[in-house]
Amino acid sequence: MKKYSGFSLFKHSLSHHENWQAAWRSPQPKKEYDVIIIGGGGHGLATAYYLAKVHGITNVAVLEKGYLGGGNTARNTTIVRSNYLWDEASKLYDHSLDLWKDLSQDLNYNVMFSQRGVLNLGHTLQDMRDIERRVNANRLNGIDGVVLNTAEVKEIVPVINDSQDIRYPVLGASWQATGGVARHDAVAWGFARGADSFGVDLIQQCEVTDIITEEGAVVGVQTTQGFIGSKKVACVTAGNSGVMAAMVGLRLPIESRPLQALVSEPVKPIIDTVVMSNAVHAYVSQSDKGDLVIGAGTDSYNGYGQRGSFHIVEHTLSAICELFPMFSRVRMNRAWGGVVDTCPDACPIISKTSINGLYFNCGWGTGGFKATPGSGHVFAHTLAHDEAHPFAAPFSLDRFNTGHLIDEHGAAGVAH
Amino acid sequence: MTNSTSTQATDIMESPLHNHVAHTNADNAGVVMSEDKFRGHLNLRGNPQDADFMAAVASVLSVPLPTAPNTSARAGDTVAYWLCPNEWLLIVASGTQGQVENALRQAVADKGGNQHIAVTDVSSAQTLVNLSGSGVEQLLQKSTVYDCHEANFPAGKVVQTTFAKTGTTICKLADGSVDLVIRRSFSDYFFLWLQDASEEYGLHIA
């Protein structure tokens, strides 16, 4: 892998950028791999990268039915934070946040991780109780966070409507200064380039049509490019996890729902941080290009169509106009949908299955992007050792049998 | 309690929209609202396949219960709205809901008495609002996702649907106006919405 730098950019500019090498190879699939990862999104690519880098397992294929990073990685609102309520979740997401901090250098790829801070607004007394509870838990878990009052929120976001006479006034917020946003596509590309450099085969346009098992153990996958053997197959297919599971007769505690997002036309910088409001279903930040990037609520029904219903977007924008009255004259440029794999407790599944050699990493719901490096890192451990990474252990499928759910819905554990 | 107030002392009663009586902002208002307050509202449940039940109710109301979806039946001061296959809203003359409730129970009992029915007085829970005028059709378009065009919503038809961010039951009357059933706790919101949505047509409170 040729190193990227300002100097390399200058050098290549002298030859009119004619000599850049491909960021990754486009290999033909081999007959057999040590590990096959189904799904070339951020999580799958990160898993491959850490498998190779941390565990030295490089005979790995990532099979992607479309193009790398083309699923939810390409469709989210890029928020990164770790201020989750429960110990298990906050450990996992904070592990991820730690990895984010050095990710650009680690990958030699600027993922533009911008720690511009994340506000979670509270609009009712119960919201504020939940915020206090979560921030206290974060603090004692070593995760940065403070509770702000309305005036302090206004200081950070001068354009916010701080009137106390409105239907759902801003009573305060939690503030995680180390949270922020990252460039979503770059994360997938950076991990892809990194994994490729260790010899991982990234195979695009290769759809898995069946997972082949013999005597309760995985032996490989059937794909649109033929059979590929492996004794370890890891499904990292987000919204399509149920479809994968059905190939081996399994069901998952997951339902795939549309989640919509939208961007405005680019406007001059007006909001410098990430503002989230679970109560009114609105999330907003502004990209470096000037777009207001807005997340909406999840549609209530199952849907793989990468589109949702219009009234969800209307609901979100009425809330946005209420929180930021001057945004009313901005225009929505583009809206789209992803397919999110929602779990009953709003926490992921990072787990072995009843089939030997078959692993699932899914259920990230509306909040998977922020977990990308952490998810890949702990899942790689699980794959390498056939035993859960300590941070991943609580997220096994078994929790649904024992009842040990980690309910981030419960108390302001906003899942985006 | 199986029977409600049999007599009503209207001087101590406040209808859901009692606060909103004096608003008039146009002489030739496109929307005229009038609250038909203190009517008796009874929610009736029962099996429409049970002929005894249907006959008993018809005898009390002087009109058979409507069984076709989204229809209503009217007799004098009494109107019955179809709400679902085993549920009706009966709107009766002011103050008579207790008598009607008792009469219904008695009539059903007289037919054998073991029918599975329920009658619930909801007279205070909601109110009947009539909207008329040239602006009403568009006002309804602003307010509900249901298609209230005459081609789809002829006189006598009743639908339960959305109204802005709350729900309502709408009945189209022969004179082209509509009756809306508004829940009491949402009535202030309803009125705020009505004022806002009717601004361009003018609103008169009759």
Partner: protein, 106 residues
């Protein structure tokens, strides 16, 4: 924006009148105490979640307040039929698969 036929109101109504309430035809175990934790968990949490034909329940919340069943394609969002609670679908993934080759032939 779904446009859904309510089998009780016998009309097609807007999505805003309804709420989605999950997979259809999941029966509560007759004797919960007699089944394993795994079987109970399966009933509680595990869902078929197909990409394609899905039988699901919707609640006509702003209308007649009846629950009913919808057979819908989760990829195309096409609704194949709606039917009352207690009834069985006439269209299933299997029936459509069988019909498809004939459709191609014609």
């Amino acid at each position: 924006m779904h446009h859904i036929y309510c089998p009780y109101c016998e009309e097609t109504r807007e999505e805003e009148e309804y709420s989605y309430t999950g997979e259809a035809h999941i029966e509560r175990p007759k004797d919960p105490a007699a089944i394993s934790d795994e079987a109970w968990a399966d009933y509680l949490f595990f869902r078929s979640n197909p990409r394609g034909i899905h039988h699901e329940m919707w609640y006509h919340a702003a209308g007649c307040r009846r629950y009913f069943n919808v057979t819908r394609n989760t990829q195309s969002y096409q609704i194949h039929e709606t039917y009352k609670m207690g009834e069985l679908p006439t269209i299933t993934a299997a029936s459509l698969d069988q019909a498809a080759p004939q459709g191609d032939a014609s």
